[in-house]
Amino acid sequence: MIRLENLTKHFGPAHNPFVAVDNVNLDLPTGEICVLLGPSGCGKTTTMKMINRLIQPTSGKVFIDGKDTGTVDAIELRRSIGYVIQQIGLFPNKTIEENICVVPDLLGWDRRKSRMRAKELLELVGLQPDLFLKRYPKELSGGQQQRVGVLRALAADPPVMLMDEPFGAIDPINREVIQEEFLKMQKTIRKTIIFVSHDLDEAVKMADRIAIFRGGKLEQYATPDDLLARPANSFIEDFLGSDRALKRLRLIPVRNAMQTDFITVQNSDSVESALERMRSSGSAAAFVLDAEGVPQSLLSAQVAGARSGAVADHAEPVKGAVPVSGDLRHAVSLMFAHDMPLLPCVDEGGRLAGVMSYRSIVHNLGHGETA
């Protein structure tokens, strides 16, 4: 657990200081990612560097697992905290193996153990050890260097990591890939991470909690969903942008937003009886399933009301379905792509598990919003 208590940093002369970080209080539970977010110069990096004491606080304290870091030897403290910087900072004079082993070597690990660890870590991100261990940083692509930069911070398995815009130096496509990769890794390693970013999308994607800074002050500290749904003031509202509701789409799982009271019909049923059942159950559509329960076609109440005959003659084929493990962004994208106002939601086996409609999406986005 990381706790910042009245953390303050002044630069410049004491009689006329520049306040870079102003009385910041923050609690981060173990195993979570906190993204420090805000415009350039708002004090994110300074806050982060006070945690590993690269910058000495003017006042206030930092606790890690209840221990005041001011009482620990700075060198030892830093060796116990993983550190990733924006410029990656791989040492060009050292091979990839030597770079990854920097902290284990400082800690005096057995050589065989640390080299083994370097090998494992490279495998973890899909870089072949026999190809990369003996290479120098300049012989790697930007994305590969970035991955090694993160691995180097993980090498000694520190419980806490500080990451200052760690994916800032690579192109957007590679950045997405590395973000996903890192989140997947985080699921198993469960580090407590302070992550600096100036990119809202990145923050929403990576964070368990977001801390928004302005002019050295912590303006709001909340979960991404909470932040997007309830910005604390107009500065944050502006910062989040006019499309902040859309950004929440990614945060809401299909599982939580879908309606499960769908009805199923047979191809041979009459349209009238299907409509009758839809009306009585209040659902907007009826699905025709195959023997496995996979949705084949659907008949909307609207169509059913204007037609007569057998369901088979009027049901529209299902052109797409969203997995329940997906998010609303995925669902909306499919709805637009296939022009389907009603989208079936399916489980891992492709079987119908629920229905997504525009209404249910709007309802979920509006949910929790202060009027």
Partner: protein, 252 residues
Amino acid sequence: MSAPAILTTPPQERRRPALAPVLVLVVLAGAVAWLWSSGMAEEILTYSDDISYLAVQHLELVAWAGGLAILTAVPVGIVLSRPAFRAISEAAMQVFNIGSTVPTLAILALSMTLLGIGTVPAVFGLWAATLLPIVRNTYAGLRAVPPHLVEAATGMGMTPRQVLWRVELPNALFVIFGGIRTALAICVGSAPLVFLIGAGGLGELIFTGIALDELPMMMAGAIPTALIAVLVDFVFGQIQYHLVPRGINPLR
């Protein structure tokens, strides 16, 4: 200061077909052929005893002066690059730069007035003339190490000493070696002058040859001097090539 720029030169640009060595060989072969055919070589070789004795003396002078210069100049460059000395380091480098414009002969003359004649003032004078390029390149090389590397190293828990030895010096090594090679070239080239303050060396043949208008005698001093210069530079070039890690060595 052009030396740090070498660091950024892409390696492929430095691997153009090696014309220079071929040219040197051709000229050398021509010179040797001329020396033999004109009978000059025979005359020069009559000095072979003097040559071998004086060449060893010459090398000893260079080794002492160069060795001491490396041992003093690198630490001075390191100290000047430390943050604590930032305030005075630029001024100090200016002084060094002005100092390096003083002719070696003048330095030797000063050395003689201070220490008299013989080996000690000669080594001192050569040392003083050799010092400057090494200090300058050590300082510039260390200053050119990207600050974020130092920050990363510190942030991962290296002590200042570990940062210096494991990150800063290795990354400045190529530039430092550039300074050492320049300095040694100056040292070897100036070494004949120390004959003038009574320290011997190959200068004895050169200056006596000039005074007596004996071309072969002068050549007997000049040719070994040139060969020593080439040899020393070659040796240090090899050391540079192999000692500077591949990751930061533009030569490989």
